[in-house]
């Protein structure tokens, strides 16, 4: 018991307290009188997968957009551990620096591949573009990297030069995943990445995402209304209702022992098969 007593004041002192990759403080976004999200604070560590769950209109997407630099917040801060400036408020950066940071260090997988892909250029060029954005000017090297990534997302590499519209929805989503991982981002945002897909296609894509996230040690913020997706993907959850975060915690704890009335309702509303 001695050790226990000794360590009592610092129950977690031996744990590595890695610096946060992302720190969101009191983030609020309102549209006139309508609140998108209010007073949201959390930290994300390297390699952590955070799920944001809640029903439609709960403010998930507003929060994701505000965090990912797409939607300047009404109040609060979004700090990211940038490679060039350290932990910095992303909205305090000037636009070119912010765009460069987003391009170099982040990925964003949209629900609709049309929002995340250039539909007029080939799948392969879509995947290679982030490399060109980072200044790679060697075709052969980029081509090889593209083929490697198409293999990683389990796409037929012979179709590398097909246009996205000639791929199925699930395959388009794989192209989008490859495009958002090829440049080695440290943080990837995913907005309902399996939302528009058939259940069987969805399951395969989730497997793939899970595997890639583990292999690459990626930090991910994933927005989903699907509790099964949240359980499979996320280490921890943020439950949103009417723009507020009503509950946070370890994913299985939030889903198996929800504390907030809304979370209890949300979890008990999931249909069992």
């Amino acid at each position: 018991m001695d050790a226990a007593v000794l360590t009592k004041p610092h129950p977690t002192s031996g744990m590595t307290q890695a610096a946060p990759l992302l720190r969101v403080s009191n983030l609020t976004k309102s549209y006139g009188h309508v609140v998108g999200c209010r007073d949201v604070s959390f930290e994300l560590r390297p390699g952590e997968v955070l799920g944001i769950v809640g029903e439609s209109g709960s403010g998930k997407t507003t929060l994701l957009n505000a965090i990912s630099g797409k939607l300047p917040p009404s109040a609060g801060k979004v700090e990211f551990d940038t490679s060039r400036f350290g932990l910095t408020d992303i909205y305090g950066l000037n636009e070119p620096d912010r765009r460069r940071m987003q391009r170099e260090e982040w990925g964003f997988v949209h629900q609709n591949p049309r929002d995340g892909l250039r539909m007029r250029v080939s799948g392969g060029a879509n995947v290679a573009e982030p490399l060109m954005n980072l200044g790679d000017r060697h075709y052969g090297r980029m081509r090889a990297a593209t083929i490697e990534w198409l293999e990683r997302v389990e796409l037929d590499t012979r179709r590398i030069d097909d246009k996205p519209r000639n791929f199925s929805g699930g395959m388009q989503q794989r192209i989008q995943v490859a495009r958002n991982l090829i440049h080695g981002p440290r943080l990837v945002f995913m907005d309902e990445p399996t939302g528009g897909l058939d259940v069987s296609v969805q399951a395969r894509l989730l497997d793939l995402l899970r595997e890639l996230v583990r292999d690459l040690g990626l930090a991910v913020i994933i927005v989903t209304h699907d509790m099964a997706v949240a359980r499979l993907m996320a280490d921890r959850l943020l439950v949103m209702k009417s723009g507020f975060v009503v509950e946070t915690g370890l994913t299985d704890q939030v889903l198996d022992d929800p504390q907030h009335p809304y979370t209890q309702l949300l979890v008990s509303s999931v249909l069992q098969i």
């Binding site: 977690t12 497997d207 915690g249 209890q264």
Partner: protein
């Protein structure tokens, strides 16, 4: 070997509040304290519904206790599972705290072998080594080789249970929680699991278990712990 207890549960209470059922409060236990040292296998005793699984899940961090602390010796330091941040709990689970539930949480389309290898892969073990150990364990548990490449979703209860056991015993977790690991197993497989548990205890693992099967319980328990003594007043 360190003689410090690996699990220290202090003054633990758990009450479920069902907000969508007139905020009905369902008290389970209170003022519960328990220590488990290396080499010990504490078997939770009490009737069904007394809160054995709830206690187990509270220790694992799956349930959020209403009060009290659950400290687990992790990297030489006690981590309070009830207070730790999610990533800390996950780190404790990844490296220190193993859990064998009655049910296997099946992940669609992941093969049995992959599923069993996963705890090793998460700890940075090479794919080849992980596969070799998974194969050894699955063989020992007599899961037909033809099943290894299949996702376990369609397996029988006993087969899923063995996959689950393999997944939990593939790493030498210092602390293990066993929630009826032998429930759907036949006598031969139960014996294999008993051996696995005894080997783990011999290595100095601390265990808390729930076993309905008296033979298994008698074979592995170093002491019994009556959960009903801490029954909370409704």
């Amino acid at each position: 070997m360190s003689t410090l207890p690996l699990i220290v549960v202090e003054d633990l209470a758990k009450t479920f509040v069902l907000h969508n059922a007139d905020s009905a409060a369902i008290p389970v236990f209170e003022r519960l304290s328990l220590e488990v040292s290396p080499g010990e296998c504490v078997v939770l005793a009490g009737e069904s519904g007394v809160g054995k699984s709830t206690l187990m899940r509270s220790i694992y961090g799956n349930y959020l206790p209403t009060q009290g602390s659950v400290r687990v010796l992790h990297d030489g330091v006690y981590v309070d599972i009830t207070q730790a941040l999610p990533h800390q709990v996950l780190d404790v689970r990844r490296r220190t705290l193993g859990y064998v539930s009655q049910f296997l949480r099946v992940i669609p389309r992941i093969s049995t072998l992959q599923l069993v290898m996963e705890p090793l892969l998460e700890n940075g073990v090479s794919s080849e080594e992980a596969q070799a150990r998974a194969e050894t364990l699955l063989s020992a548990l007599r899961l037909p080789r033809a099943h290894w490449d299949l996702p376990p979703a369609t397996f029988s209860g006993g087969e899923q249970q063995r996959v689950n056991i393999a997944r939990s015993f593939i790493r030498n977790y210092p602390v293990m929680l066993l929630d009826e690991p032998t429930a759907s197993l036949d006598a031969e497989n139960r014996a294999i699991v008993v051996t696995l548990i005894q080997e783990a205890l011999g290595r100095g693992a601390a265990m808390i278990g729930i076993f309905h099967d008296h033979d298994v319980r008698d074979a592995v328990a170093t002491r019994l712990f009556g959960v009903s003594e801490f029954k909370a007043a409704a």
